[in-house]
Symmetry: C2
Subunit: 235 residues, 2 copies
Amino acid sequence: MTSRTKFRLHPARRGAAVRSRGHAIVPRFGTRGQPEESRASILRAAVAEFAEHGIAGARTDAIARAAHVNKALLYYYFKDKDALYEAVLDHVFSGLRARVMPVFESDLPPRQKILKYLGEYFDYIAANPRFPRVVQAEWMRAGGKGHVPMQRIAKEYFLPIFAKLVDVLRQGIEAGEFREVDPIDFVPSVVGIIIFYFSTAPLMKSLVKVDPLSEGRIRERRAFVLNFISAALFR
Amino acid sequence: MTSRTKFRLHPARRGAAVRSRGHAIVPRFGTRGQPEESRASILRAAVAEFAEHGIAGARTDAIARAAHVNKALLYYYFKDKDALYEAVLDHVFSGLRARVMPVFESDLPPRQKILKYLGEYFDYIAANPRFPRVVQAEWMRAGGKGHVPMQRIAKEYFLPIFAKLVDVLRQGIEAGEFREVDPIDFVPSVVGIIIFYFSTAPLMKSLVKVDPLSEGRIRERRAFVLNFISAALFR
DNA sequence: GTCATATAATTAACTAGTTAGTTAGATTGT
DNA sequence: ACAATCTAACTAACTAGTTAATTATATGAC
């Protein structure tokens, strides 16, 4: 990894095929095939590979193969393995943010707001059960001390959500509806409850008869999580 | 990895220096240095390395260096990287089992039993905050589908504890002291709450001012966890 | 309309560096 | 002497990342 490589611009960033305001793709000069399709296909394959093997364990060859593209194309769209992983993280967290932030804009009372937040969070993960493992892969890296990339991710996505939760909790507590919990303890507990189940699902499946990701089981799990946290938080 | 290698016996398993009933070590013939010390040193270093980098990310060279032994010695005591990791898992889980199983032998009422269990579990992890990451490393491997080794670990350590918890929960529910929770939902939730905090501690530390592993914070966290789960479980 | 051309998209084959695991012996306590 | 313990140096395999070319497409000149 020379310093020249490091600062090389990637065609994808220079923008080749460009999506105009509407929806129709306006191709430029040498655009051929479906470049956005290729990029998306690589990202999709990367999500699966990183979720299954972590960052160190993920194989760029495997990602390329699963995406049905040549490995060099992977390095054409992404600087290196780390950049690809970062793109995956962005994908995961921007999806989550898009899903939960609107909840905080609504003017529901604190109790309903928390429940709605939990429900949306749960449903997003349930619809993408690989995501917890992808994120876990990050904090398994380098002792989880939080690289520069992860710092950015945390500041861009996590802290804003956390701040909103702090607000709602404060309101609920002031209104006497919530027990007095410290967000620094409450939030990671909630995240742990929701995420842990899904990230251990593959292992759980091999241990017990029931499929932890079956539709029925997920519905039960959802009800339990909301009920459990409600009992712990509401007066 | 040839099949011959696979079945080679390791001196450690044949038993060299043997610890007699008392405490004094009774060395055999060519015993020199402190073989048990070397083995323990390797294990200790492996815990740290696996916790920091996961299985694929862990470097056997780094483990040997940290343990102040030649890398070949590592392969003298352990068949390969996987076997070393398995030994680490045994170390972690046997410690946990030794700590929590006595709780179930006691004749405390269900409520106190659960609280005692949670406290012991929490304290064990708090005293060894690297352990959650070590275990997480396992289910990040090969999609967490649960290798043969992990199946063994789960059956040997996890299922017995789970069974005891099922008992206590049933008793508590029948006595009308507990809300009606399904162990298949309750147990992973509790584990998630306890473990998640510690496995994300390094990242958390880089994000906020407070040290999540400071003595005071741990004490607070412990109180919160017991209180939170109590509120969610007890009537 | 069509033809050369610039440029984007894509690939087969390669390389340099890393890493798990081995070998063949050296050392030491008994 | 002898087996247990330990090591320096090695190797075979793997893997992230590169290179140098090739193919397809839109554009603009005519």
